[in-house]
Symmetry: C2
Subunit: 479 residues, 2 copies
């Protein structure tokens, strides 16, 4: 086909990933684990298309998103784009199907999202999010359930050391109002600066809240222009810490002036603490942290972020919060919503780092190997028999030069197939098959230098059985 044409370079798009079986099998297992947790907490699955109208994704008021989109045109010439998250499509759905999707509604969605960001190590332009959201319930009891799900995913993934940091937009709003910062763009500016705490450090946050600073590249970063006294108040507040959720609430109460706003925020945090207790969420697994400012310009109530104390370099592997305004992009009907998103790629990387991912190279359990002039039909018959018994079986067929026994066993080894079923002319004539445990042979051979001893060890775990005992013999080896 390509004889007269230039070859195409076989490469993956920049910022995108291919998953070979050994990458994909643990991912699929993790997705199934997450799905099971989501369903246990009462969530039902939903799926929406990869592409959406640009208006749906961005809104018409320019509130939009700071995410970079993959934009294109529909065949009808409309502006469309690949979705950048699963939350906006969920909001569209809530507005679009009022008769089928009635609040209270809990849904989970697992699928790829796309961002045309600059890719980097561990940062991809297509990545999978696993989301839960609850629509139609304003109570923070539901936020507590979302936090409990975040922990349950970690438990199910085998992680014991994890912590959901929890803050509340209302608490920060109360703080800002008490500091006389009431204008919304100014409030958001403060939140953006506080959100940089981990990245730029306390001193730089102090400067950015004040007169601004010059960054490393020499560019000026304009400041919010707050007085040192107000800055002191804000920094004291975000520095609060205590060993328990109620301890933090008490400290917040001491550090904020009495006002209806403050009282409401504290009452909500108390209610959240009650609900977390009722759900059995341990103190060390969900901590109130007034410094958490992630997405506070977007969320309207509690916000959550999952960190791994034993693998802090992976940052936030899940995050979420309450967003009570998004559905109003589509319909004039208040729809309180809360939810969270698991970054599957980042979580997978963290689990790998923590040694919590069982290697799995293939689902294939047996390879039927053929020697000499055994008809292909014999190979196929053996494979069919094993498959009928529910054993995942590959029949080896390749180019002629790869049909040697050593090639066939090397193939099984390369793919990680544990059992080989061998039929040669002798076996065929005698109505028997040989069944070989490839893991056993491998272990036996390890470290052996002597050639004959190596060969002998390679025969370990090999038995010859009657044709009629094939399935039983393979099952015995697989156990």
């Amino acid at each position: 086909m390509a004889a007269n044409t230039r070859l195409v370079e076989p490469i993956t798009l920049k910022g995108f990933q291919d998953f070979l079986p050994e990458d994909l099998l643990p991912r699929k297992r993790l997705i199934r684990t997450i799905e099971a947790v989501f369903e246990r907490y009462g969530f039902a699955p939903l799926d929406t298309p990869a592409l959406e109208y640009l208006d749906v994704l961005l809104g018409t008021g320019g509130e939009g998103t700071n995410k970079e989109l993959f934009r294109l045109e529909s065949p009808e010439g409309e502006a469309i784009a690949l979705r950048f998250d699963l939350t906006v499509p969920f909001s569209r759905l809530l507005a679009q199907y009022p008769d089928r999707v009635k609040p209270p509604f809990r849904r989970y969605a697992i699928g790829p999202v796309w961002r045309a960001d600059k890719p980097g190590p561990g940062r991809f332009r297509q990545f999978v999010q696993c989301d839960i959201d609850v629509a139609g319930a304003a109570t923070v009891a539901v936020d507590a359930e979302v936090i409990a799900v975040m922990g349950a995913v970690m438990d199910a993934a085998g992680v014991s050391e994890y912590c959901v940091l929890v803050n509340n937009r209302k608490l920060i709003d109360a703080l800002l109002v008490s500091c006389g910062i009431t204008e919304i763009t100014r409030q958001k500016h403060v939140l953006r600066v506080v959100d940089k705490l981990a990245k730029v450090g306390l001193d730089n946050v102090r400067r950015e809240l004040g007169e601004g600073r010059i960054d490393d590249s020499g560019d000026p970063i304009p400041g919010v222009g707050l007085s040192p006294e107000i800055i002191g108040k804000i920094l004291a507040f975000i520095g609060l810490s205590a060993p328990s959720r109620r301890g933090i609430i008490a400290q917040c109460s001491e550090n904020l002036p009495e006002s209806p706003l403050v009282q409401a925020a504290l009452a909500e945090m108390n209610e959240l603490a009650d609900a977390l207790d009722a759900l059995g969420v341990a103190e060390e697994h969900a901590r109130f942290d007034p410094s958490l400012a992630r997405g506070l310009d977007y969320y309207t109530g509690p916000v959550f972020e999952m960190i791994l104390p034993s693998a802090p370099e992976f940052g936030s592997v899940m995050g979420g919060g309450r967003y009570d305004g998004l559905v109003e992009r589509f319909v004039n009907r208040p729809t309180p919503c809360t939810g969270m998103s698991v970054g599957l790629d980042r979580l997978m990387a963290a689990l790998n780092h923590l040694g919590l991912v069982d290697a799995e190279k293939t689902p294939v359990q047996a390879l039927v190997v053929t020697m000499g002039n055994v008809p292909k039909a014999e190979t196929l018959r053996l494979a069919a028999e094993l498959r009928a018994a529910g054993i995942c079986t590959e029949a080896f067929f390749a180019s002629k030069k790869k049909m040697q026994m050593s090639n066939q066993l090397a193939h099984a080894d390369h793919c990680g197939i544990p059992v080989a079923v061998i039929i040669g002319e002798d076996e065929l004539a005698n109505g028997v098959v040989s069944v070989k445990d490839l893991r056993a042979g491998k272990v036996q051979r390890e470290g052996i230098q002597d050639h004959d001893a190596y060969r002998e060890a390679g025969k370990a775990g090999q038995v010859t059985v009657a044709r009629s005992d094939l399935v039983a013999a393979v099952r015995a080896l697989l156990q």
Copy 2:
């Protein structure tokens, strides 16, 4: 948020689908069924990104594809597009990772593909394909395995009446050469015409093989310009039929002149028949059909198409064949490949039509319902207890006006949740809970007109148990 901005219309992109839980749950079940079959036949999963370089998808020689693509630009300004199938990305992979993906290699891939075609009933611009492919084995024994997988998917989906139509590009080539049609564009023209048989009928095929015809719209369709004698030969050949695979081979043998090409093609069909027999594929489940011309301009050996005799209106729900040249777009290394693709959306529609899809509205098994002034923490504790026992549980929280008992039970009913756990102030005071089988109540109430009788019937299947017996009582109802 939307107070000062125009509302966005909440609509799905033209030609795209949303899947609500009752749509998605059976789809997910079917995907798991298909995955299990693929793994049983020795295939391992692979995944590639949604986007590819345009060159990768189309080749540089213009051989390309007749599919309409969703094209866009990468952030780096390169020409890219959404993938239109899973086969081209697989070919790229084979060329890209020679050390990790060594032939013989069997992979399956399940995922969305995109085509910017005109949408219509049952035709979508994003749809899911479930593909298997085998690389590195030229023997038709592997084609037989692919055909066996097609049948095994149908068996697993509960379909008994199905048939894989099988033809062979080599057989048609032998026919064409024997008719003196040796030029490749002329050969492809003949194949395209023959492929229209089901759509336009025998007479129109005859005209298009000859002088051409005027179609319904008055447009001229140019003909291939064959003589009546040659046309007769071709039509006789594609009209061949017999009750068995070997019967067809015998008829082909009679209808084709002796030549090395013909002998090779017939030998291959005989080998395929042997392999299908060895795999236990019944005659009625895989039939040789010389009229099948699907994709014959693309495939290089056997071609397959799955039809459902009891639901012919769904057309081909799976299709595939041998394509030995595609990998050579990327690398000068012959890599024989064969495979097939399940059109998940079309198969799902056919299964629905055949009544083979069990309805499933939600994975949620129990709804914890609260009445009166019961603290939310009680609801959460009950839910946590059920979840700890592995029961998928939703705790009901909604806006205040929806917190009435009737709303809560209507919600369970709407979502299809089978069991309600009820805790009111009395239950709380007495250390008990009520557990209600919502399906039983529904059945009991059916057809009852009298109001009191209706209420009484609604209590059917409701029991009050000690708090400590909650899990056991719910389990009993779920069985």
